[in-house]
């Protein structure tokens, strides 16, 4: 029987499997929830009864030949990819598989410094050498932007032996680079183009949105289905173009992937893909409309700046993702992270993240106008109750890194622990970042400057949650001897 986007092979196989009432003498040991009644009460009988192991009728994630393979083929078709892999280790696993499939120890990869920590983690694992392209920073908003074509070309010419370039597209804030031209440029220089598309799953399904990685001709893309696509947390897709070997990429994935892939995660990918393939256009038209309504209302409050396509400048901001509700807060005299905390503590509203000058509220397939009204009203109240004049706010976010060693060398090097204030001028062996959004302030191998220490101190003072170092409070750091 021919498969169409109306099908959801894993979901259908699970339903069939459920009807057979097979007696389980395999894992998981909770045996359809009977062995763990408290968990069953929490999650529901149906949910735990589908938490099953790989077996012939349900296929094997590590080596798919039937229903998982079918689900991958349908996903590839829906995303316009040569092949799609179902991923169960978060988009982190998709990003790391992209990097590990493209570069080996000592090989160079070109990337913007504002990548997610998962990219830097992959460099620690494989020993590749990062070549950074300054993503530029918007003066007024203090946010990192996209990659300029001229900067990319300069980096490629200076490092002709580089194997790949990685692009964040869109950024967390919704900023897009000129992806099509970057892909062409990469291929002209015999480099692969990898796209961290964690925040752009909807580009494949909505209308009037920026170009998707596969449509732009990229070689690999990490699409975080659980973010804007509606699947369960930790599920993701890795997409590849025709120049990549499916078999090799699967080998790389299998180096670190679980052999007990969750059918809850996999079926959620399958069902979400079907939903978006069939109804994605309407879904994202609605999301874009709600985001635009929210922007208009927030900009009417005064002080806040909910930005959008007016920022487009043809290079570092080549396009903007209008489903993102990114808001600058500096003119009300509050840091984005302060607004983020007030929304949570005072108004029971949880948004995605706040940094020094901005916050991001995630609008998606599950939102309704009444929640948007609450968010806007709470923002109006925060300005009335807590707003100050906008002076004295630190907002410059991008600090040019000085790379002294590769991430792998620095991570595994001989090192010593120092109080953070004594680390100036030393080479860092660890990561330091605010989470969310998880973009490193320091990565292993970078020189610690007074500018970076000021930034860390200010971020702490404003209530950012800093992570990455062995010391959970980031009061001390490991530095190279």
């Amino acid at each position: 029987m021919a498969l169409s986007q109306e099908n959801a092979p894993i979901y259908e196989a699970l339903v069939e499997f459920g009807k057979k009432r097979v007696v389980p003498f395999d894992v998981p040991g909770h045996k359809r929830g009977r062995g763990n009644p408290e968990l069953t009460a929490l999650l529901g009988e149906k949910c735990v009864s589908f938490d099953v192991n790989s077996m012939k009728p349900l296929d094997y994630l590590c080596h798919p030949v039937s229903v998982i393979r079918d689900a991958e083929i349908l996903a590839a078709e829906a995303f316009g990819a040569a092949h799609a892999f179902l991923m169960v280790g978060g988009t982190t696993s998709s990003v790391q598989a992209m990097v590990l499939s493209s570069v080996k120890r000592g090989e160079k990869i070109i990337l913007p410094r504002n990548v997610h920590k998962s990219v830097m983690g992959a460099l620690v694992l494989c020993g590749a050498v990062p070549v950074y392209v300054d993503p530029l920073c918007d003066e007024r908003l203090g946010i990192p932007l996209g990659m300029r074509l001229s900067d990319v070309e300069r980096a490629m010419k200076a490092n002709p032996e580089a194997k790949a370039i990685l692009v964040n597209n869109p950024t967390y804030y919704g900023i897009c680079s000129d992806l099509k031209s970057i892909v062409e440029l990469a291929h002209k220089h015999n480099m692969l183009c990898l796209v961290d598309e964690a925040h752009g799953t909807h580009f494949y399904f909505g209308e009037n949105l920026p170009v998707s990685a596969m449509a732009a001709g990229a070689d690999m893309a990490a699409a975080s289905m659980h973010k804007s696509g509606g699947s369960l947390t930790q599920s993701s897709f890795l997409l590849i173009g025709s120049a990549m070997s499916e078999g090799y990429v699967r080998q790389i994935i299998n180096l670190t992937q679980t052999t007990s892939g969750s059918y809850l995660l996999m079926s959620s990918l399958d069902i979400s893909r079907r939903n978006l393939a069939l109804r994605g256009k309407e879904v994202y038209a609605r999301v874009a409309k709600m985001a635009q309504y929210a922007r208009d209302e927030i900009n009417t409050i005064g002080g806040y700046y909910a930005f959008s396509k007016e920022l487009i400048n043809g290079e570092s901001i080549f396009d903007f993702d209008v489903t993102k509700l990114s808001v600058n807060t500096l003119d009300i005299g509050l840091a984005g992270i302060e607004v983020y905390s007030l929304l949570r503590d005072e108004y029971d509203i949880q948004i995605e993240f706040g940094d020094l000058g901005n916050f991001l509220a995630y609008i998606s397939v599950g939102d309704r106008p009444r929640e948007i009204e609450r968010l806007v009203s709470a923002l109006s109240e925060i300005r009335r109750r807590y707003g100050k004049s906008g002076g004295g706010m630190m907002h410059q976010e991008y600090i040019e890194p000085i790379v002294e060693a590769t991430p792998q060398e620095a991570f595994y090097a001989q090192k010593e622990l120092l109080p953070i204030e004594q680390t100036k001028g030393r080479v860092c062996s660890e990561f330091v970042m605010c989470y969310p959004p998880g973009i490193p302030i320091l990565t292993p191998g970078e020189l610690i400057t007074s500018e970076i220490l000021d930034y860390i101190r200010y971020a702490k003072e404003k209530g950012c949650s800093l992570t990455g170092s062995q010391d959970p409070d980031v009061n001390s750091l490991y530095v190279l001897l």
Partner: protein, 283 residues
Amino acid sequence: MEFWFSENHTPNVQISIRVDKQLYSGKSEFQRIDVFDSPEFGRFLTLDGYMMLTEKDEFIYHEMITHVPMAVHPNVKKVLVIGAGDGGVIRELVRYHDIEAIDMVEIDPLVVEVCKKYLPQTACRFDDPRLTIHYEDGLRFVRFKENEYDLIIVDSTDPFGPGEGLFTKEFYGNCFKALKDDGILINQHESPFYPEDAAACQKAHKNIVETFPIAKVYQAHIPTYPSGHWLFGFASKKYHPLKDLNEIRWNMRSLTCRYYTTTLHKGAFYIPAYVEALLKNVE
């Protein structure tokens, strides 16, 4: 033939009212709307299956939500009413000739239309020239208002559905901003009795206490609402509901009521010990 309307007051408690016939059933963008005739309670309106009002006991709710602030505030000229699509609050308000303007904000035009047709007992004064009806989200409407109203009455549905936004801190904060320096906010405050309602009641009180310098709660007995014991919130920037009650002034108006008296006004603020404790807990 047995024909009963039933509503779950908790997962384990149900109230049923015998129905003569169903007069209307429809679905708007926001909710399902039904109107029934019953032998005991007369005509009644339900939204999403929840009892909103019956002809027999609506006077208690509408008198208590309106006359309590009107007997305290000495000079109410401009009133904002949020919700109130059945018209009961408007009917009580227009009895005061010194009120100059009433803005009513109802999210669902169909509720007003249905009530005009089937519930003339409450929806009888929508033609008053002082009244302007705005069909929009109350939370949004109040966001654009500043220092404008003497009195705001929040006649909302329960906080589990379209009315949810009207129990939030952002809403009460925006009401504070919309009120004049001596303004009063009255809200329907849920019941303190069953745990789920009590939690909503407590949360609403917390949000109001954090927003207004004076925040008191008063009670009424409403037979068709869960447990029959219902609360209202009295939040104010200046006037105290008892110290600033002017009995003579209100009684001089010679308004006849079936539930409200200025004596009952005083008693209504003396609430049971367990309710006091429930509210104290978040003050």
